[in-house]
Symmetry: D2
Subunit: 370 residues, 4 copies
């Protein structure tokens, strides 16, 4: 199986480099009959796009999606769906210096040693540019999930030292930072402005919730829902940690506190983040990722060049002071794709299992407790 | 592909329930010629075993490994290696109550709804008993890795509020808690004794390092070394978070602090945990997992039974006050298996790539900074 | 994915050598709730067994199946099902000579060069002994298929120059040769007796039909039903050709003859063998394999030994004059497993597609025309 | 894993319909450093192309390959290679009638029932148009294999009743029929001319040989070289049988005749077609496929329409009287891709196995005996 594919039944295979002719993907295993058109991709791609605020890279890509196959008469046909996005604003000259130097914190050094050569333009394959097609593929998944009453929403739950005081879902899309707390938004913007002036960058935490997920998704033991989700999220550029539910907090919790008690009226808490034994419990699925600060900054750093000599590196291209911000729709995309894959997998093996009772009610996601 | 398999080229497929006749696995893709005998499994299985201290479950399994295939004349033949371990101390009567009740925090409820029936004896398939065969399979991987100069070592880096003051590798195996700091060991033991008396349980953090890993392992973008590792580690029972390198700390770091600078004399830090762009950098691979407190405790908890009626649950079986302790060899096992798989994958695609220079020296793992 | 696994959603992974301690398999992805007990395996294993007539190898194996996991209370639980069969009549001394010699027509030479060592006892992993577990795994598949009205039946359609004059389904199981024509049975037996006296062996053709298969199974283009079936059948020991429907006869057919016309009353023929464009048509699935004569014969043959010197080889172990005979239940097994896998795959992707009309009736299989 | 992917380590995923905007593929797992340019695809694509003689479909496609990713500075980089071919001569109006009718012998009926809708233009996904990208992908594989001294060559070994009197490799590419016998070429052309006038079509047999393949390729038991080859070849449009070596002839052979004896001077025959126990023997790999006559003919045929009413079908589009002819480069392509995949797989598992002796010489392929 291709190392550039993910998903077992809903399989997405991507291609493309940051400054090559195009990026794109093939989505296979998609059920037939889903309505989809090129314009349906615009909203989410725009959420991920560069250039939409002063806090992200100023590269401007039109991100027009061409559907090359798998859709006929406006509906998916069950055959592979190929999506193509041309690269239009690739300024390769910005990266001339890069080809002779290993930028610290980047994949330059590791690609060089693995493959013996690399495409240095804009980070090549290791660029976050590729995540555009993940978001595009997930547009189809989100639509299909919506038809089943499943909704995925992400937000920024920390930028450096700043954490939101509360989570207001309706506020998230009102600002380019996906910041869920209008009260502390000015403070975060001021922090980022200061950072930008200093030429440095900062890490972030992205949270995501899926509501309406039925009980039963996940294939124990090596296709667990949280195991697959961990792989999908850790594989996003710059992610260094994945947490499910209470995540690292469980280290300090007692069993009497952590276990989510059940009553006929419903679960009493959701420390588990909606997954027990690798299988969804019917409670909201909650996950978080830690995203490192980009290493492409104006602050000079030490490195070596291809000749092994010490050099000073200053990255002058178009970069994000906080790459975590644009990661929000990407994290949503990966969760949506994993959920759709698992819904198909569950239908395959357990399509005949009758609905069991008792079904313990799952309270809706409580943003304030996240 | 089986959902009870992991690994692409070195593939381990496991079977077995906690209280069924046996557990075991098939290891496929293993290179021929590796010397292996039944007694080679004892050391690591004993590290994972129950019953070896008062801090872990008192179930006593002999864990004798029978090699059913794939080894001839004491060496692997390249054909599938089947390992069989009989269950001998399965007291199913302890679990009679369980069959009518969903234990909070366990997989009872989710297995029931997914499959419409379940094997309730000792948690069935969802029991940590299965991890025994992961450790067994990894004995072969560790041996093969050792031949390449690669060594994997895990330890406990937190139990509830207790954190080691320092990390002394030589001390880890001297106590049944895999605690790396002899000075604070009595304090941790006292904490666990108190916990045991209260009938409660506690979370833990397990850390693991692999030293000697060459640069170049990992298949970007969906077979990244950290992506595969995240799946392997999150799939271990009770794990709720996976961190690579600095993990969740990166949220608060600046780019000028996080990026690991390179000089001709070597990398100046290892915040990345040895992985850049999904590919190993030649620095030590460092990962951590957060393990939740077991929900099987003497403290009464609320739940519902199969009839949907409210019940009180008290778990009287043999359980661990801190399941994280026994997870240390399991975490090592998953890392070893992922590394061996990726070494084979790398050899397949890049076996012809010449060694590139400059190779930046990687300082050895600095336990004190972990 | 393990090279000793087959099936995408219903995945069977096998292990074991001819003269090792045991053979067995892990069946994963099986729907929960299927009733299965150890004695259910006996009938089909006995059909495949050695020693049941003078025309097959005289090795006598009890072939008792132990269910190690995945079944609770007599029903599959959805977790991996492990089956274990101990080898009891392995006379390794018969094969002492083999370890120093490459038997012509066997896998000795190729295993030696691939792996640099081999288990020479009874052919090791390359022995047809392994097919026992395929038949065992398929017992579960056949039962599940029967519940959907699908029936699989194989027979011998040629042994050397002998071909049945007609195909009488009721006669197949009445003789140990799976010969469908009682009239020509004595002639075939006489042919085989003569062959046995001469110490030589003969090839055979096995045919198989599946009736009741619904329209729609198969994933174009690289998971086609015929593509997967070809792999499954060619992978059986000694198979050198796989035909679907009219098979090699199509070379001489015209389009006006081959295409199976449709009328409201039904298809008018079934040259295609029930598969069009890689997808089942609702007509009976018909396939054939050509099985080579075993190379283990009393007629002396030339070969070389490990030192590269010329040697004469005479195989004195227990072998079949016509290995094709015992292949009948194996061919059935592979077809049953492929069908079950594809039914699950189809349910995953197209579980929501409504039944379309018109549905063209498919006449039942016409044995006389096979 | 995508059902539109093939290959385990060298994975090709294809997309596209006959009359959609484009067809293409993603090739993943390719070693870095292979020189490749857009013009390198022309020769083989032209061999497969329509319109190059009066014996094949008159559709004229430019088949210009655009490399979208995975190549930098004229060399493969190890990242996914995306190839795009635009459809330029798609006359969808030819197929207006098709959308209301199930053409006998085509995938119309089965796609309709599987997916509940279909793209009827030119057969949509089930069209042989897709095979263009298989040939394109194999251009890279053939080049890599050539560097290892491996050469793949296909030819037509039967068209209906016509069989070549001899096989002259140098003659194959001198005529548009890939006919290896100049003496009987006029006879075949006359046969095809007569067929074309009658508006009918004919089946064919395609043979292929790979020379220079080292001993040791193939992963027993479910990744056997012949098993994977059977799947790859049966998956080609219109193929109804796959034979390895002597194929269906083995049914009538005796063991003393079939087994390929070994002497220090070499193998004495190659009835096995270069594969023993699923592993290459070092002898030439020889395979054959039987290709059915196309069902798209001028001879009227019976069928039903979407309303279930009987209709008469006459196919007036551009079709091939013998689709087998253009299959020659496709069969070569599938063999080349399977071989490259298995070379990488073998290097992964057995890269450390030393060259074993004795190595029995393999005589070159004897065309006259094929």
């Amino acid at each position: 199986m291709s190392a550039n594919s993910f998903g077992k039944l809903l399989t997405v295979t991507t291609f493309g480099e940051s400054h090559g002719p195009a990026i794109g993907c093939i989505i296979d295993g998609c059920p037939p009959g889903i309505a989809i058109a090129p314009e349906d991709f615009r909203a989410d791609l725009s959420r991920r796009a560069t250039g939409r605020s002063r806090f992200v890279s100023q590269r401007r890509e039109s991100d027009e999606v061409e559907i090359l196959s798998g859709v006929h008469g406006g509906r998916t046909t069950g055959t592979p769906i190929a999506l193509l996005i041309r690269n239009t604003d690739a300024r390769s000259k910005d990266y001339a210096q890069v080809s002779q130097t290993f930028r610290p914190g980047h994949a330059d050094y590791t690609y060089w040693h693995k493959y013996g050569l690399r495409d240095p333009r804009g980070g090549g394959r290791s660029s976050a540019r590729e995540t555009t097609v993940r978001v595009a593929a997930a547009v189809i998944a989100k639509r299909w999930l919506a038809g089943l009453g499943i909704r995925v929403q992400g937000w920024i739950s920390a930028i450096g030292p700043c954490v939101p005081g509360r989570i207001e879902f309706s506020a998230i899309e009102d600002n380019p930072l996906f910041w869920p707390d209008p009260d502390t938004l000015p403070e975060v913007e001021a922090f980022l402005d200061g950072l930008r002036k200093s030429g440095d960058s900062i890490g972030a935490r992205v949270s995501v919730v899926a509501e309406g997920v039925p009980v039963g998704l996940g294939e124990p033991l090596y296709g667990k829902l949280d195991g697959d989700l961990a792989s999908a999220l850790m594989g996003i550029n710059a992610v260094k940690a994945v947490e499910i539910g209470d995540g690292v907090e469980v280290i300090r919790q007692r069993g009497s506190e952590h276990r989510d008690e059940l009553t006929p009226a419903g679960f009493l808490s959701n420390h588990a983040g909606g997954i027990l034994g690798g299988i969804s419990s019917g409670q909201p699925i909650l996950a978080h990722v830690a995203i490192k600060p980009t290493s492409s900054i104006l602050v000079p750093g030490r490195s070596v060049n291809l000749a092994g000599e010490p050099v000073e590196v200053v990255t002058r291209g178009r970069h994000d002071p906080c790459v975590g911000i644009r990661a929000v729709p990407i994290v949503e995309a990966m969760l949506a794709l994993v959920l759709m894959d698992h819904l198909l997998r569950h239908r395959a093996q357990c399509g005949d299992v009758p609905a069991m009772s008792p079904r313990v009610p799952a309270p809706p996601f409580q943003p304030e407790s996240a």
